[in-house]
Amino acid sequence: MEVFKNVLCPFCGCCCDDLEVEVDSNKIINVKNACALGRGKFLSIGEHRLLKPLVKVDGELVETDLEKAVEKTVEMIKNSSYPVFYGFGCASCEAIKLCLEMADLSGGLADNISVVCHGPTILGLQDMGIPSATLGQIRHRADLIVYWGCNPVEAHPRHTIRYGPLSSGRFVTGRKSRRMVVIDVRKTPTATMADVFMQVKPNSDFEILTALRALVNDLDLEVEEVDGVPVAKLEELADMMINAKFGALFFGLGLTMSYGKEHNIEAAIALVRDLNKKTKFVMIPMRGHFNVTGANEVFTWQTGYPFCVDFSMGYPRYNPGETSAVDVIARGECDLLFIIGADPCSHLPHYIVERLKNVKLVVLDPSITPTVKMADVAIPVAYVGIEASGTAYRMDGVPLQLRKVVDPPPGILSDVDVLNRIVRRLK
């Protein structure tokens, strides 16, 4: 048996890098230090696996070989008038770079799953900047942790332990040295851990953030409550924030997906900016998939823009709301959707999925998903971070190395190897 230490977890944006994976005869038999989600991923890679390339013939998916699937994909991209390259939350940075090259070569559009998570965060920080830090700085220094519109106990299970209120830092040690605040619409498992839980109404975040800004700036609120939250409670929270030596705001999709979207983020950034006039305060978005941050990084290096990049004019053009994958599919402009590291048929609104019936689909995925079932071409790839190495960015923008601990099933290549074959033929 071989034990791989300090393995990066390819599940959520925490990218925990202390996993121990026990491998015997190329089979993962145990995973230590991982949360239930990470452990579940490592131990279930053999199940529901896509093992052979598939192509649609007369409405049915039939097995084919890799060369024929690659050839068919290249032909479909060349014949497409406007291909969209989408996904990347579960792909390595190296694979993302190749897909951007394909979008550029074909005059298509490249977009990542930020459009179903933190796209509004990006819009907000482009307008305002973001006072941020690494998770390590927060672990070692933060004496106040605020979770707003997120539920890490269920979505990022080790966040509170490794980086949040339960973590043991160099200068701030353990739960007793930190205050914890949760702001959410339900009393989630994360909320039950908090010193202060502030329950807010759905779609009221902008008002609450704006009221907190007023209080932090020593203004009086001439009302008893703001959207159902007593002003006394807001004053208590504002005082906690001002009196923290080092505060950290982690925010999730409760802010980005509610009414106001990027305006909620701008209000949150403005609050943190105001707090920095009185103390030290930082903020980090709780990114969901393990490399969605990497997708934004690679898109920005390569094109200047973090998502929603259109190449149809021969140069990168960026206008979310017009050039997002969702908008383009909704308007019926896309005739080919190339998907890697995502399952849009499960996670996009049904209205958008309906429109994919008129769009050719090419999918690179290790497993059989609803999107694979709808595909015209499906090519199996290795699980990056388990069966292939690569680079991923943690939610705080720190790049880390994904490791290979087992070989993929026979005949299955990494996504980078498959993409290289496609790109070579496109040139």
Binding site: A155, R186, L253, V326
Partner: protein
């Protein structure tokens, strides 16, 4: 008893949804967690609906029938929760409001019980 109630739908992640996703999106585990709606117990009483009974949820964009379960994160009267997945996405809005992102949270929906005869 009330037949139809306007509520706010919030979709989101849950631990069980994450585990079900890794087990397979065609697995019973995934379906059992994504094809259910969590309601505040008071709202369940208002609708005269019991644990595991069917209810119809309708939005401007579609309508689904899913099982009702009592929320473990109550009280949140007037707010229902569904885990991310294909079911809730029948209700979510494709409108991106200039951001590129559809609207997955804070949606206005109508909720009503489904009688056994109607369901079959």
């Amino acid at each position: 008893m009330v037949n139809l109630v306007k509520m706010i739908l919030v979709s989101g992640r849950s631990l069980e949804q994450g585990l079900g996703k890794e087990a397979s999106k065609f697995s019973k585990r995934y379906i059992d967690v994504t094809a259910v709606c969590q309601l505040d117990p008071e709202d369940m009483s208002r609708l005269s609906i019991g644990e595991g009974e069917s209810l119809r949820i309708s939005s401007q964009h579609g309508s689904i029938i899913v099982k009702a379960v009592k929320s473990k994160h109550a009280p949140h009267p007037g707010v229902i929760f569904m885990a991310y997945g294909p079911w809730v996405n029948n209700l979510t809005s494709p409108e991106t409001h200039g951001t590129g992102m559809p609207s997955f949270k804070g949606l206005e929906v109508e909720v009503e019980p489904v009688k056994t005869a109607e369901r079959s």
